[in-house]
Symmetry: C2
Subunit: 216 residues, 2 copies
């Protein structure tokens, strides 16, 4: 019997101030009816790569092309799938909550339902990776809308890290990095206070993840 070869996607987004993961009710056996990561078999006829398969799965289930999709790694073994020896390539995607618009059900990563296979462990590892990577890169911008304020981005960082980050230093650091581009004249109100300047990611950094040499 051949190895079962699949891709799974950990789709992360921000709701409130906590990281959420998108889960879907399984339509088929095994584990029909359980919440699980979106995933599926690689289709040789359609997919040009495992990553393309992950993008297709996501498109089919959510209708969106994720702005950020990265391979996490593989999980494999004889016992993780009741159907036999399996290998799954795990991807993670980061999307602004606005893009999802309530389509898939999402769960706070700290309060997950019972999950089949090794999905719980996979999610935990992906979250840890994202946390680590966020601390030395501008990864969390992918959790924000294309146009965002610094306080919004700051909140995204804190949500990902799970700890507070000094707002003043955060702002200064960003400016030094030069990844942000001010949208002149555009501000965003959020209550009865001073509105915040809108920014976007500067051209040279679009689609390219800026990784800083060190520190936060």
């Amino acid at each position: 019997m051949a190895v079962i070869l699949t891709v799974d996607v950990v789709l992360l987004t921000l709701r409130g101030d906590e990281l959420h993961v998108a889960l879907f009710k399984r339509a088929r056996e095994p584990f029909r009816g359980l919440w699980a990561l979106p995933g599926g078999f690689i289709r040789e006829a359609e997919d040009d790569s495992a990553k393309a398969a992950a993008a297709r799965v996501l498109r089919d289930k959510t209708g969106l092309v994720p702005p950020y999709l990265e391979e996490f790694g593989t999980v494999s073994g004889p016992a993780r799938d009741p159907r036999g020896w399996s290998l799954t390539v795990v991807y993670f995607a980061l999307v602004p909550a606005a893009l999802l618009d309530g389509q898939p059900d999402t769960f706070a990563v700290s309060r997950l339902p019972n999950l089949p296979f090794d999905h719980a462990a996979v999610i935990a590892q992906v979250v840890e990776r994202v946390r680590n990577k966020a601390s030395y890169s501008s990864l969390p911008v992918f959790l924000c809308d294309p146009e965002f304020t610094i306080p919004e981005l700051h909140a995204a960082y804190e949500a990902v890290q799970g700890e507070q980050v000094n707002a003043a230093n955060f702002r200064r650091k960003l400016e030094e990095m030069g990844v942000l581009e001010e949208i002149k004249g555009q501000t965003k109100v959020s209550g009865r206070n001073r509105p915040a300047q809108l920014y976007r990611v500067a051209k040279p950094f679009r689609d390219r993840l800026s990784v800083r040499p060190r520190g936060l």
Copy 2:
């Protein structure tokens, strides 16, 4: 037809002051006779995971159990293997040159022969990853013997990085990290000069890669 599922291993070691990769002449088609990365199919009956398959491949071809073996990622697609749609899980291993003892043929990563599949690109990416990772972790200790001097480790760092690192600061940094354990009374001569103190990796860090918060 099913997807071709294999593992490949980029085995890196230090010869002289340059990173070398182990290559083997392919015994079978396709590309019989060409130098290529060691690799092979996953055997469902034998292997408990893809990583176990990589370790088995390495053991069969070199007789050694690599002290450091890490997943790099996957490469996949319809065109990279003439036999059909394929997915390869790539691993990289770091071993001290003394362990190899001339068994496999090794090539400086900057002067590789013609390679089949996408092996050339894979090696280039792995080397880049190792370089990056070395700069914020103690990865290069796996390129040294179990007992080593600080100058030896320093040379390993410089070889991996491809650039000079100040020896005095390197030493101080290591001591701050506390990953090294002095082997009291043991020194190693290397010419007509002051012998160097021998060290090993301290117990709490054995098998565990120390990743520093930042800097070199």
